[in-house]
């Protein structure tokens, strides 16, 4: 095992054995359980048998069995409102509709109930009414009328198409992946700013720098952090898919059964986000190395959140022109690239070359920041309570060393 991988493996092992990591790992599944559970609860509340009465004064429902199948709803016809009211009072029905005699002109029907019936039962009755209304038409026309407005918007400039006037649920998948990564950065950034402070706290700096180079140590620590992130992400994604499967297949939640996931865009976000995460982690490490104490590190860390969320503040500029200069700049600037690419993928198919450029910038920037963090660490390793100035990072070796504390 190379020394870099040894440091990385040690870092991974150390961090993942902490209770705080396990809590963080379970946070996302808990959120998913809550979301899916809430959805299942709503669905459960919507299910169950409902009996609806109706008084058809307009004579439009000539066959109440027309319409979609629904075994949970039973429709009962009454000759007049008094009979229906008596049935409601006797709790034989959950409610009843009175269809206006002049329905053809008013399109009005009145629903009377003691306790509001389930909305799925009300939707079913409306479907039955609609199906009866178009029953005299040819099957093709009837089907088209029942489908309602079916609008597809094509953004020809951005090679993106939205059915029924909005993006399909699956199109949000890349944005969800982006949010995952941002969440990942937010949860691990505190760790990154203190990753080297650990060596100072344990007084192991001199042992480490006389065993491996600062570059090797830095690369190992960052790879370890990346490993932690990947592990966290993989576990979260597994839980996400498991939750979608359980929700769709076991709990029978319809909104989880009709996902049209854009795998290409999801993969694109992962490709952009991994090096961007590396860049951001290296940046956090550098900042954490340069400051004098943990509190200062946390203050600077919170400033980096502003950077991460910059695209959100500028959505009004990015959305109208997702291929414009602002959107492009933020797509190529590593800390903002994750959210920007996520938002843009909702509006357009992001060209492959832009994905590649974003990755290259993040990787080169990340390597440079890793080197710089190694340099900063070497300069500040035996300083306690003193901040390293940016100018010192770029000065000559001898001059830089002369500022280190005397021993």
């Amino acid at each position: 095992m190379s020394k870099i991988s040894l440091v990385a493996w040690q870092q991974l092992r150390q961090e993942t054995s902490k209770r705080s990591f396990l809590l963080l790992l379970l946070l996302m599944p808990l959120i998913l359980v809550f979301v899916i559970g809430f959805g299942a609860l709503i669905a459960k509340l919507e299910s169950g048998e409902t009996t609806l009465g109706y008084v058809d004064q307009a004579g439009i429902i000539f066959d109440p069995t027309l319409g979609p199948e629904n075994e949970d709803v039973t429709l009962v016809a009454y000759g007049n409102p008094e009979e229906a009211q008596a049935a409601l009072d006797a709790e034989a029905i959950n409610g009843y509709y009175v269809i206006d005699a002049d329905y053809a002109n008013t399109h009005q029907a009145e629903l009377l109930y003691n306790e509001q019936p389930r909305s799925s039962a009300m939707r079913y009755f409306e479907e039955v009414v609609r199906t009866n209304l178009v029953a005299g038409e040819t099957p093709a026309l009837a089907e088209r009328l029942l489908d309602g407005a079916n609008l597809t918007i094509r953004a020809t400039a951005y090679d993106r198409e939205y059915a029924t006037a909005g993006p399909a649920a699956g199109l949000f998948f890349p944005l969800i992946v982006s949010v995952f990564f941002i969440f990942l950065i937010l949860t691990t950034s505190g760790y990154m700013t203190t990753v080297l402070a650990e060596e100072k706290v344990n007084r192991t700096i001199e042992i480490i720098v006389t065993s491996i180079s600062t570059g090797q140590m830095m690369a190992g620590k960052l790879l370890g952090a990346l490993g932690i992130a990947v592990l966290q992400l993989v576990v979260w994604i597994i839980f996400l898919f498991a939750a979608v499967w359980v929700g769709g297949q076991v709990l029978d939640l319809s909104w989880l059964q009709e996902l049209d996931i854009s795998w290409r865009d999801g993969a694109m976000i992962v490709l952009v986000a991994m090096p961007a995460y590396y860049f951001t982690a290296a940046l956090m490490t550098l900042l954490g190395t340069m400051v004098s104490d943990d509190m200062e590190a946390q203050q600077i860390g919170s400033l980096s959140f502003i950077l991460l969320f910059m695209p959100i503040y500028l959505l009004m500029v990015i959305i109208p022109n997702p291929n414009g200069p602002v959107a492009l700049f933020f797509s190529f600037f590593p800390p903002t690239s994750i959210i920007t690419m996520g938002v843009r993928s909702l509006l357009m198919v992001v060209p492959t070359w832009q994905v590649i450029v974003s990755m290259i910038i993040s990787l080169i920037g990340g390597v440079f920041l890793t080197w710089l963090a190694g340099r900063a660490f070497r300069l500040s390793m035996l300083r306690y309570g003193q901040r390293l100035r940016v100018s010192e990072l770029f000065r000559g070796d001898s001059a830089r060393r002369s500022t280190a504390s005397q021993s």
Binding site: M1, Q10, V201, N202, E206, I212, T403, S407
Partner: protein
């Protein structure tokens, strides 16, 4: 044979303070070399310059036949003045990890760690976190960490601090054993009696400068006063030419007049029929030499 370490006219300043000023010495292969000096003399800075932790302003360091390189780190063991191990890690895991950074494969490191933990009476604490160990135990663990990869050159800063006499002997025995195996050892310490017992040669640094350098015996001889240590069976006979008589660890220290030699004293003792059990030239202890040399340096600087 090339020296294991050669330091030539080394200087290093921190701002306006000159921490190391024209220091030179060489450490021969296979010897135990004492790097001595009062607090703030520049010993640790000199070690850090030798190990390339700091770059010198002036001068050169040759370590294991040339400048310091990444590859040489695996051939050097360093126990810094600032003790440190990963406090939240289990002792055994910590030692195996740090040995790995010195290039020892995990299986071999595990075997070596096990042996040293037994030897230093730490085996039953192997699964404890470092922070749960006593100060002395941490100190022993630190020493184990320094020698685990079997370095050719060992640099130890105050290796005996925090150790009781039993553990001090353990460490001394280990250092003696390593010397016999050919390891070069540089020891920085304030414990002069340990230096007297272990070191072949020393350099004494004060205010960043060389004050004394050479073989320990020769330095002691150079600082020896005009006196002899005598122990006889029974009462001490009358000896002429003695100015002052002092008690010294069960023997008598006889400070001689300028025109009297130790040979004259011995002749008188033999002719007085006394049974001489001990007769030696009184050499000063290293701590006396230390105080004297540092005092002379300080006085000389004050006079300038």
């Amino acid at each position: 044979m090339n020296p294991a370490v050669e330091v030539n006219q080394l200087s290093k300043s921190f701002g306006a303070t000159r921490a190391v000023d024209d220091v030179s010495f060489a450490v021969d292969q296979g010897e135990i070399f004492g790097l001595l000096g009062p607090n703030g003399a520049g010993k640790t800075t000199t070690i850090r310059l030798m190990l390339d932790i700091f770059k010198p302003d002036h001068g050169t360091v040759s370590i294991l036949d040339g400048p310091m390189t990444e590859a040489k780190k695996e051939r050097i063991g360093y126990m810094p003045e600032e003790r440190g191990l990963y406090q939240d890690m289990q002792l055994e895991r910590c030692l195996i990890y740090l040995a790995g950074l010195k290039g020892v494969p995990a299986a071999e490191a595990r075997q070596r760690v096990s042996g040293y933990l037994e030897r230093f009476d730490l085996a039953q604490h192997r699964h404890k976190k470092v922070k749960e160990l006593s100060r002395g135990m941490q100190q022993k663990s630190q020493i184990i960490n320094t020698v685990l990869h079997r370095p050719e050159l060992l640099i130890v800063d105050e290796p005996f601090s925090g150790l009781d006499p039993v553990n001090t002997k353990l460490v001394k025995d280990l250092m003696d054993e390593l010397r016999q195996e050919g390891t070069t050892i540089i020891m920085s310490t304030h414990m002069m009696h340990q230096v007297e017992e272990l070191c072949d040669r020393i350099v004494l640094i004060n205010r960043g400068r060389n004050v004394l350098y050479g073989r320990l015996k020769e330095i002691q001889r150079a600082y020896a006063g005009h006196a002899v240590l005598v122990r006889v069976d029974g009462p001490m006979p009358e000896v002429s030419g003695v100015e002052v008589t002092l008690q010294h660890n069960g023997a008598m220290q006889l400070n001689l007049a300028d025109d009297v030699t130790p040979q004259d004293v011995l002749t008188q003792l033999v002719s007085s029929q006394a049974t001489v059990e001990q007769f030696e030239i009184a050499a000063p202890g290293l701590d006396e030499i230390f105080i004297q040399a540092v005092g002379e340096e300080t006085t000389a600087e004050g006079g300038q």
